[in-house]
């Protein structure tokens, strides 16, 4: 869907993005991670030409982004940023309608789309549509920001730390919503973040930037178990790696026959949750139940501990 070819951005002698090539599959969520100053935001902003590359090119669905005027190109690419950037002088409905209006949609179609998106993000259109951004909570503003980015059916959604300003509980909810909505709409998402939890839980693939260079691009499991550089390994934190690894898969395929007592664990719960539940209740095993509450077997502490080891893969 997105092909980044030898993209470089230089400010005078300062190379911010250095010869990055990256292929992003249609419908994927790719998290671009790295320390501040690693060039991840610049890389993202070169995709919709908010920053013009010094050399290299970007293709979206096979088409060179330089073939279209920047502001016209951006109407086909969603863009959501930290601090949402909602227009304070416009209502929520007008904010969401920004790009459709620029594209000259008729009024009825815009209204229908705004209502659809606000409902999708759990904001009752009749109540929230006429409000101003300052009348909403931070989490609601952020959702409107993403709704605005998605309004004109973009093929690609670019997000720059979209959840950075939210408190942890609201952030977790926003991430889950994004995942669900992305699956529903099938839009390709490029997400810049420095939150490794966010990257591992949301992304299909993680691209790690280090001093302007792309040092690794792989699935979360690969990045965790086989980091390409010391920096990539450090990003996850040595004390957290096993737990992150556990959080990537569900307990379903660790389930074995047997009997155990106590509170059951759902088969689709992730392994980290299961480990936490066992440790907290002081049990060596717990029953596993399916979606309908039926017994599937048990999961043991031993199996979970084994699965947390990098060489287990």
């Amino acid at each position: 869907m997105i092909t980044i070819e030898r993209l470089t951005k230089r400010y005078d002698d300062d190379v911010v993005v250095d010869d990055v090539s990256l292929e992003i599959a249609e419908g994927a969520i790719v998290a671009v991670v790295g320390a501040s100053g690693s060039g991840k935001t610049t890389l993202l902003r070169m995709i919709n030409r908010m920053v013009e590359p010094t050399s290299g090119r970007v293709l979206i669905a096979g088409e060179d982004t330089r073939a279209t005027a920047p502001h016209l190109l951006r109407r086909s690419i969603g863009y959501a940023i930290q601090g949402h950037g909602l227009f304070p002088h416009r209502t929520i409905a007008e904010n969401v309608a920004t790009t459709p209006k620029l594209l000259g949609w008729d009024k009825a179609r815009i209204e229908a789309r705004v209502d659809e998106l606000l409902s999708l993000f759990g904001l009752e259109p009749a109540i929230y549509g006429p409000r101003r951004p300052h009348q909403l909570s931070g989490g609601q503003q952020q959702r409107v920001g993403v709704a605005r980015a998605l309004a004109a059916f973009p093929r690609v959604l670019l997000m720059d730390e979209p959840f950075g300003a939210l408190d942890p509980i609201v952030r977790a909810k926003a991430q889950a919503d994004l995942r669900a909505i992305q699956r529903k709409l099938g839009v390709t998402v490029v997400l810049v973040t420095h939150d490794m939890d966010e990257a591992t839980s949301l992304a299909d693939r993680i691209a790690i930037m280090e001093r302007g260079r792309l040092v690794q691009e792989a699935t979360p499991v690969e990045v965790l178990t086989h980091p390409a550089t010391q920096f990539a390994a450090d990003m996850f934190g040595a004390d957290e790696r096993p737990f992150r690894l556990l959080s990537l898969k569900s307990v379903a395929d660790l389930t074995q026959p047997g009997e155990a007592g106590g509170e059951p664990i759902a088969a689709d719960a992730d392994r980290r949750e299961a480990l936490a539940a066992l440790l907290w209740s002081g049990r060596a095993a717990a029953p596993v139940t399916g979606a309908g509450g039926e017994r599937l077997g048990i999961v043991t502490l031993a199996r979970l501990v084994e699965a947390a080891a990098a060489k287990a893969r």
């Binding site: 951006r74 863009y79 227009f87």
Partner: protein, 246 residues
């Protein structure tokens, strides 16, 4: 509180209207201030006409100053014009450092006596407040909002007209109000170069040592200025609410 403010406004307006339409109403009240045998009320020309010219000169000067200041501020905040920002700032500041009388004195030899030199002086004077306020208004628009506007696909022109200027409007209007107040009060001095403004009444009073003239002229100018500033202030608050800050 609100009721008191409205009473005061309406009372000021009523007194001003009565004075401008029938100045002789105040003859008895002003008589103690006039020298013996001299008239208490200025009747050499219609004060209503003088007030109209006074407001018209100030309005034209404010509109011209606003247009010039906005053009400068918009240009200075575009990527192509940012290099000119310090220059514009110092030019606008320099305009403010000349005393108005000096500008009048310089303007008279080139454009003659009358309203024209006054208009030039007032326009030069009005540029700086609008320019500075427009600059801070435009520069005060949140970078995240501008980033989002560009990201949503607004062209540079749409970004200016639909995001930057509407959000800077309260600040711009605050500059316009300042500019208008300066113009209304400075138009008074225009009478020294034969511009027909309410300053004529004050100057006639000074020339003939008639305190009644001075008081009625000054009071009328003050009332006019306060009322107009008040109205522009209300407009400013309305714009601030619209810009989402209320």
């Amino acid at each position: 509180m609100k009721a008191a403010a409205w009473t005061l406004r309406l009372l000021t307006l009523a007194l001003l209207a009565v004075y401008l339409i029938r100045p002789e109403t105040f003859a008895a009240a002003l008589a103690p201030l006039a020298p013996a045998g001299a008239p208490a009320v200025y009747t050499q020309s219609s004060v209503l006409e003088l007030a109209a010219i006074h407001v018209a000169i100030a309005a034209v000067a404010t509109v011209l100053a606003t247009a010039a200041a906005l053009a400068l501020a918009v240009f200075a905040t575009r990527p192509a014009g940012s290099a000119f920002l310090p220059l514009f700032r110092s030019v606008a500041n320099a305009g403010q450092t000349f005393p108005p009388v000096a500008v009048l004195a310089i303007a008279v030899p080139s454009v003659g006596f009358g309203e024209a030199p006054t208009l030039i002086a007032l326009t030069l004077y009005g540029v700086l407040p609008v320019f500075e306020n427009a600059l801070s208004g435009i520069e005060g628009v949140s970078p995240a909002v501008l980033d989002a506007a560009r990201g949503a696909g607004l062209s540079p022109r749409q970004e200016l007209l639909e995001v930057e200027l509407p959000l800077a409007l309260p600040a711009i209007l605050s500059g316009v109000r300042l500019s208008a107040v300066i113009a209304l009060s400075t138009a008074t001095i225009g009478s020294t170069v034969a511009a027909r403004t309410l300053g004529e009444v004050v100057i006639a009073g000074l020339a003939t040592n008639n305190l009644a003239y001075i008081v009625q002229g000054a009071a009328a100018i003050a009332a006019l200025t306060v009322l107009i500033s008040d109205a522009l202030g209300a407009l400013e608050r309305w714009a601030a609410r619209r810009a989402g800050r209320g």
